[in-house]
């Protein structure tokens, strides 16, 4: 799709294992080793071993199981070597007791593995960690994102993000933050923080800040899987269903958001036959479960906005006025400049570019959005529709300078060129 020469199959197996298997391998190792940092170091060792051995011995039939086995051995080596690791003897005894999993065993989809990831997400989202650290750690551990990607997603410098993650892991060990699903009485509260994090993983996947692909479907799938898991665990929680509905409805449009040549396609221009009807049905069913809770939370509102956008038969017939109202309700519940931006876009579509610009202009002075590409892209679109080609061109240039995504860049450049 990117037009790059075909990659070395071993290198691509390693990078796909890093993306897809690392969170599962890490979660398993944390359970077995009882220590986040030790597990992470051992998983890193296992990937280094893969880089050396796979080109020589071939790609194992089940890379995930291979990585778990090697990582466990490396964790044992590290414990034998490093006297400073806390509770060393106990950890060593636990690890040596673990039955080696047969290399052919499928590790994806096994209940025990799913539970490990759920435990890990509750550890990463523990309230004794700073919220920004919870998000970063979950993305790092369960989303398998690089520190650089996480830093960009949160508009902060990479070294700052690196320190935040290191500190969070140290706090888990030093303060004794447990590795388990919370007790029934603590679950509702603890779940709020988890949902927030799942939501952010989905967003990162839906509009990846880096690389050639507009949609990193694996991250969306991961977030949806986590959402489904949480829905099974907390079937009476309206917010879980609201979040799941929102993710499914967004994800249903995945194939239609990028055309055959890899360019971004706006919602109004999407080929609706490419929408995933199964995802839409599950999404609408989840939205119905959420509505039954009679307490519209922010995810449910977002799901309702998306459902409205998708249920309109033609782009023209979309009820933008109602969507603008729903964004207003969302903003009242959880004020955020990004929600205000979406509201301005909806107002622009409902009541014309002048009304949209009036809503959007206060956001241009918001320091948090200064480097936020979608703000400048939306500003440019509104200016263009209002007939101010000169100002629109400037705003497109600003947006282009801020995007790290090649597909988004191509679309913004196309719109800029169309002005001239």
């Amino acid at each position: 799709m990117s037009g790059a020469p075909p990659a070395d199959p071993v290198a691509s197996a390693i990078s796909s294992a890093f993306r897809d298997e690392r969170p599962i391998v890490l979660a398993t190792l944390i359970r077995q080793a009882g220590d986040f940092q030790l597990a992470e170091d051992a998983v890193q060792d296992a990937f280094e071993a893969a880089v050396k051995q796979w080109p020589r011995d071939g790609i194992p039939a089940n890379p995930g199981a291979w990585l778990v086995t090697i990582a466990r051995r490396r964790a044992i080596d590290r414990l034998r070597r490093d006297r400073s690791i806390r509770d060393r003897a106990e950890r060593l005894a636990d690890l040596e007791r673990v039955e080696p999993e047969p290399p052919e065993a499928s590790i994806e989809g096994e209940p025990a593995i799913v539970d490990d990831r759920l435990r890990l997400i509750f550890t990463c989202c523990h309230p004794a960690l700073d919220l920004s650290a919870r998000v970063a750690l979950t993305l790092r551990a369960l989303g398998g994102l690089t520190t650089g990607e996480i830093a960009r997603a949160f508009l902060i410098a990479e070294p700052t993000m690196g320190k935040r993650i290191v500190r969070a892991k140290r706090k888990i060990a030093d303060a004794g933050i447990p590795y388990r699903v919370p007790s029934d009485e603590d679950l509702p509260d603890r779940l709020r923080g988890v949902l927030r994090v799942v939501y952010l993983i989905f967003n990162e996947g839906y509009a990846a800040a880096e690389g050639d692909r507009l949609v990193r479907g694996d991250l969306c799938d991961e977030a949806i899987r986590l959402g489904e898991l949480l829905a099974r665990l907390m079937p009476d929680d309206a917010d879980v269903w609201g979040l799941l509905a929102m993710m499914l409805l967004h994800d249903a449009r995945r194939a239609a958001r990028v055309n055959a040549t890899g360019e971004y396609v706006a919602l109004q221009e999407q080929d609706r036959s490419l929408w995933d009807q199964g995802r839409i049905r599950s999404g609408l069913a989840s939205l119905e479960r959420a509505v039954r809770g009679q307490r519209p939370g922010e995810y449910q509102l977002q799901a309702a906005i998306t459902a409205l956008q998708m249920q309109a038969q033609e782009g023209e017939a979309t009820d933008w006025a109602q969507i603008a109202d729903l964004y207003g309700a969302l903003s009242a519940l959880n004020p955020s400049p990004v929600v205000e931006l979406n509201r301005a876009v909806a107002v622009g579509l409902a009541s014309g570019p002048a009304a949209g610009l009036e809503q959007l202009e206060p956001l241009l002075g918001d320091a948090a959005l200064e480097r936020y590409q979608p703000l400048h892209a939306a500003h440019a679109d509104l200016l263009n529709r209002a007939g101010d080609a000169g100002a629109a061109a400037q705003a497109y240039e600003r947006a282009i300078a801020l995007t790290a995504n090649a597909v988004e860049r191509a679309e913004l450049e196309r719109r800029l060129a169309a002005l001239r």
Binding site: R83, H126, A128, D130, R170, K171, D174, G176
Partner: protein, 137 residues
Amino acid sequence: MSQYMLLVYEEEVEPAVQAEREAGLPELVDLNRSLREAGLLVGVQRLRTTDSATSVRRRDGQTEIVDGPFAATKERLAGYYVLECADLDEALKQAERLPMTEWGTVEVRPVMPVDEWLRRGREAGADVPDEAVEDLA
């Protein structure tokens, strides 16, 4: 006889400077032994750094759990508990039960196990025997 609590305050410093402090462990072992032999020592414990601290308070019936130490403004230290807990969740749950969380804040700090205290001293070059664990705390 009356009991007195000696509260130790220090700046949390970079690892190289901290290592110099850790290297002074033999002096501390001797001091603590002399206090114990004099029948004065009730207890001594070292806390982990504030990086591992969590603050708990209750306002309007809502428990607030915040990462980090309590930043004192007008409040003053009023007392302490030492609890033996399975993990931080249990410690936080017990902290929440203290009525003082409704008007004050309870800072939950992990105690550093004495063998780790000893190990840190040794890593910084202090020459102390295993039995020093008994004298230290």
